[in-house]
Symmetry: C2
């Protein structure tokens, strides 16, 4: 399903839905960050996705990371809340979702890298190499907040 992000754009369509979603910042022993190359918008991104009825938010993280990367993770802590009402995502089916994303640190406890229908590549990326990859600015911000070891989660 195609997706277009709008941030602070006066021409953005009006939001008609809010779905809590998650992203996971997972690092390996060398400090590299686990990223996927997304099929829906061709950008690199943190693994993550929408919360579903019947699961806790930590279960959402575990499920989405498994689906998109092949790795089994456990959630460690919250690193930020991202709820800018001027960031909306328009989908092909007419849904316009207002951003409501919670970022977590998580660590690998099993599994191995594999791609999926949502991720055409799965890669451990050195933070120094992030500038050379095509990531949405909002995704860069979440990585930055998670890696800078803030005292308390970002609220935005």
């Amino acid at each position: 399903m195609g997706r277009t992000d709008y941030v602070d754009d006066p021409d953005a369509p009006s939001a008609n839905s809010v779905v809590p979603s998650v992203v996971a910042v997972v690092t390996d022993n060398g400090g590299r960050v686990l990223l996927i190359h997304k099929t829906d918008n061709n950008l690199w991104a943190l693994p993550g996705g929408g919360h579903e009825i019947g699961e806790s938010i930590a279960e959402t993280v575990v499920r989405e990371v498994k689906e998109e990367t092949g790795y089994d993770v456990v959630v460690e802590r919250v690193t930020g809340l991202y709820t800018n009402p001027r960031h909306v995502m328009a989908y092909d089916d007419g849904e316009v979702r207002q951003q409501f994303s919670i970022a977590f640190r998580a660590k690998v406890i099993g599994g191995e890298a594999r791609t999926s229908s949502e991720s055409k590549a799965v890669r451990w990326v050195d933070p120094a190499e992030l500038q050379g990859l095509d990531l949405h600015p909002s995704m860069r911000l979440r990585i930055q907040h998670a890696l800078e070891d803030r005292d308390t989660p970002y609220i935005g």
Copy 2:
């Protein structure tokens, strides 16, 4: 609108909605906690309510505390995520909402106590007196987590 909470109850109705919501833990200089006496279920509770399209989560906190208590607050930090899928709230209109609540510390910057259609009393309560009030156990837990100054927000 009447509301019934079910926690770990095999007879609970199945959830059909998830609406991100907030509660605010606001204390005065003496460490007393700002509580409301709710009209919908007759319990004492932290002020809070559902996120609405068009607002950030911090704006939800500010709006709900103002509506329910009369006070103007600013958000300080996140203290917990409460997303137990076995805690559902059934409303008179057929909505069965799965718990998805984010708790925050917030502080008063203006306003004064007043009741509302949702709150028949607004009171500053000493933590030692909480046992004597009728609060839902999930509300007690959020107060406890917020007052114990955890290193990192609770995730449950």
